[in-house]
């Protein structure tokens, strides 16, 4: 396209950007142009090179080839501070706030000015965009929604011309998403351009003006998201239609597989989450979903169930597996009873980052005949790892790949595959599709439903409300360490659960 004389050049133009890691090409000759005020969605599967591209624009890493043209001038973005000086801001997926200092102290790390001055500007920006936040609050006491507001305010304080948002809604409750979108639309109206990474196609249709599709590091297409349907976007992204999980009525048996009664846990870590009288049952053949914004006690609950945190002997009875009191039992004993776990943190909890996939298989699957008389059976180990990789379509360079070299979504598929192959009688899974693209997420959900139909009891902790609704049979909501009574997934609406996520159990329960 020719630029007409008199028209300003695009705000940002990427030309032929290529980034390699060894022999692996993460970005392959990517071209992209962005006008002022334009919101452009970056679509793609896990490992398609979206994050790599954003990191290159923000100066965290340098491209091997190609140029970045900013306002018509070629620039070398050698570090994030250079990017910030140009007017590029980034809101990170996992946030880049430090918990031990306050909001304004965090902002002072990258924005010049004295603390009182900055506090004043924070208040102004907060008012201007309806992002309510107290600059003096310590970050460790903030909810995820509030943390994201801080990230956005920090970007706004540098008067950005371009905002990069990496999956900004993946951790937000529904009403915060609405608020975020209002802010983003306001900003776009003032001429701020945005690059928006998300797997949520409905959001992209609501918010974005254009969409660029990346596949295996290359730009494979563009679309107008306001005219395309979600299904069309999905097809562009993964190359075929997304299957939706077949979800027949659950036929749970009556005897609970997992029973938690009046579980109380006082976290010795002052920044940790405590639990207040949590009760629930999970029966064979049903999926019980626990919804809620993260940080409300879910990770503590998961650790108590897995045995990573063990209860005192006299409280052991508050967790029962097949009617055996296991609250004080170590994880290995719980696994012997047929429970498997998929923790939230893939690196460090679910896998050892520096070990190969084959060795990571051994961590939990050694019970499945991979070890005899204390010696590893290499043949069986390799077979197990291979079937795990092929069953779950894990994109890696084979079973000898180091766990930390896989993209987040692929590692998650691998971990799930490992635990599913163990044919558990109870599966406890946290954030099963977090960071996984739509196609893979649909596959994972289908696998969970299939597993349920074989009579496995599944407890799923997830922040994604859609996922909870898609495959759960019953739903609990967690808020401030308390767990709501369960509701039938088919008899409540997303709005009801959204309200429960803000702690309004009792009113909502009465209304439902």
């Amino acid at each position: 396209m020719k630029t007409k004389v008199g028209n300003p050049p695009p705000l940002l133009r990427l030309q032929n950007i290529t980034k390699r890691y060894g022999t692996y090409v993460a970005n392959d000759s990517v071209d992209l142009a962005l006008e002022q005020g334009q919101i452009c969605a970056i679509l793609g599967e896990n490992g398609a090179g979206k994050s790599t591209l954003m990191k290159t624009i923000y100066g965290i890493q340098q491209p091997d080839e190609g140029e970045i043209v900013w306002n018509g001038e070629k620039v070398a973005v050698t570090s994030p501070s250079v990017a910030r000086d140009l007017g590029i801001g980034m809101v990170f997926q996992h946030f880049s706030l430090f918990e031990t200092i306050s909001v304004v102290e965090n902002i002072s790390l990258t924005v010049p000015g004295s603390l009182p001055e900055l506090s004043e500007i924070i208040r102004q920006k907060a008012d201007q965009y309806g992002l309510n936040i107290n600059p003096e609050s310590p970050v460790h006491g903030l909810s995820v929604g509030e943390r994201q507001r801080v990230e956005i305010i920090r970007c706004l304080m540098q008067d950005p011309k371009l905002l990069i948002l990496d999956e900004p809604t993946s951790v937000l409750p529904p009403h915060s998403v609405k608020q975020l979108f209002e802010t983003l639309k306001k900003l776009s109206g003032r001429g701020v351009a945005m690059l928006y990474i998300s797997h949520k196609l409905e959001e992209i249709r609501d918010l974005c003006h254009s969409a660029v599709v990346l596949r295996q590091g290359r730009v494979t297409g563009t679309a107008n998201p306001q005219q395309a349907t979600s299904a069309e976007l999905a097809r562009l992204m993964i190359g075929h239609d997304i299957p939706t999980a077949r979800h027949a009525e659950a036929k749970p048996s009556c005897e609970p597989a997992l029973a938690v009664s009046d579980l109380v846990y006082d976290n010795p870590d002052p920044l940790g989450e405590s639990l207040d009288s949590v009760s629930m049952v999970v029966r064979p053949g049903e999926i019980v979903g626990i919804a809620g914004v993260s940080g409300n006690g879910q990770s503590t609950l998961a650790r108590l169930l897995s045995g990573e945190i063990r209860l005192q002997g006299d409280e052991a009875g508050s967790i029962r597996i097949f009617d055996r009191s296991v609250g004080d039992a170590p994880p290995g004993m719980r696994r012997q009873l047929g429970v498997t776990f998929v923790p939230e943190e893939r690196l460090g909890r679910a896998t050892v980052p520096t070990m190969s996939l084959a060795d990571n298989v051994l961590l939990t699957a050694h019970r499945a005949g991979l070890v005899r008389k204390g010696l590893i059976r290499r043949r069986q180990q390799a077979d197990f790892a291979d079937s795990c990789i092929s069953d779950m379509d894990v994109r890696s360079r084979g079973r000898q790949s180091i766990a930390s070299s896989l993209s987040g979504g692929n590692l998650q598929k691998f971990v799930l595959g490992r635990e599913l192959l163990l044919k558990p009688r109870i599966l406890i899974v946290s954030q099963p599709t977090w960071g996984i693209d739509v196609g893979a997420a649909a596959m994972v959900r289908q696998k969970l439903v299939d597993l349920r139909d074989t009579g496995t009891a599944i407890l799923m902790i997830s922040e994604e409300l859609e996922e909870i609704f898609e495959i759960s049979d019953r739903i609990h909501v967690m808020y401030h360490g308390r767990l709501s009574p369960s509701v039938q997934a088919r008899s409540v609406t997303a709005e009801d659960v959204g309200r429960m996520m803000m702690g309004e159990f009792d009113q909502t329960m009465r209304a439902a």
Binding site: A83, R84, F98, L109, P270
Partner: protein
Amino acid sequence: MTDTIIFVLAGAFATATPLLLAAIGEVVVEKTGVMNLSVEGMMAFAAAMAFAVTYQTGNIVLGFGLVVGASVALSLIFSILVLGFSANQIISGLAVGILGLGLSGLAGRNFENLTMMAPANLLLPVLSDLPVVGPILFRQNVVTYFAFAAAFLTWWFFARTRHGRITKVVGEEPAVAHNLGFAVIRIRLFAIIFGAVMSGLGGAYASTILTPGWSDGLIAGRGWIAFALVVFGTWRPLRIAFGAYLFGALLLGDLAVQATGFSVPPQIMTSLPYIMTIVVLAAVSRNALLIRLNAPVSLGQNFRPSK
């Protein structure tokens, strides 16, 4: 009796000085997420060097100056291992520490059991002549004032300045700090060098001012005590200064009690400073939230930025 108390309270500043210097150096290093276990060896090497140079030239400033250079050189070995090659921090620290101890034996070989005169303490007009306060506070060596000023400045640096906050967050989550554009490796390198300078000064002070003389083993665990002070002071410089002073006072208290002829089993008296300092610091610092907010989360973990 008053004299004894004044002796203990005044002497405690001097006894605390080498511990405090080394501990302030180490707290800055640890705040950036690096655990440097070479403090003891670093101090010993510095002590031997400082004594040798000062004894030969008679110039204590030259002694201190060379010590700073030598400590930095030694700490660069540690930096190359840990920051350059991502070697295990504990092993590297111990190895460099052992190297320092070995070098101290070498540097001090011809000076074994020699002694010299200590430089005079600072005398301030009027202030030094005040009763009680004068001898306690205003007749100390200039290095002692420097050590306590350093503790205060370090507190101020972390609590009040932007660079202090950046230094601190590098030790909290280096990956995030890197993504925000801070040079994690460079900040850690500066911290290690600062730590080396401070423990070098501590060692030099011990062999030229506190007990001017050299014999192998002169440092006698002071580096480890400094290391422990950092932890029990929960990474807060003012607590560390208090802990160092308390330890110095208890150490002298032991001597004072023995001088009065009061009979307490010597084992108890000798272990008392260690036990009491830990008990007191643990008691004043047991607020779990404050520990959590001050302890460097990534302590001991290496960081490699992706290119």
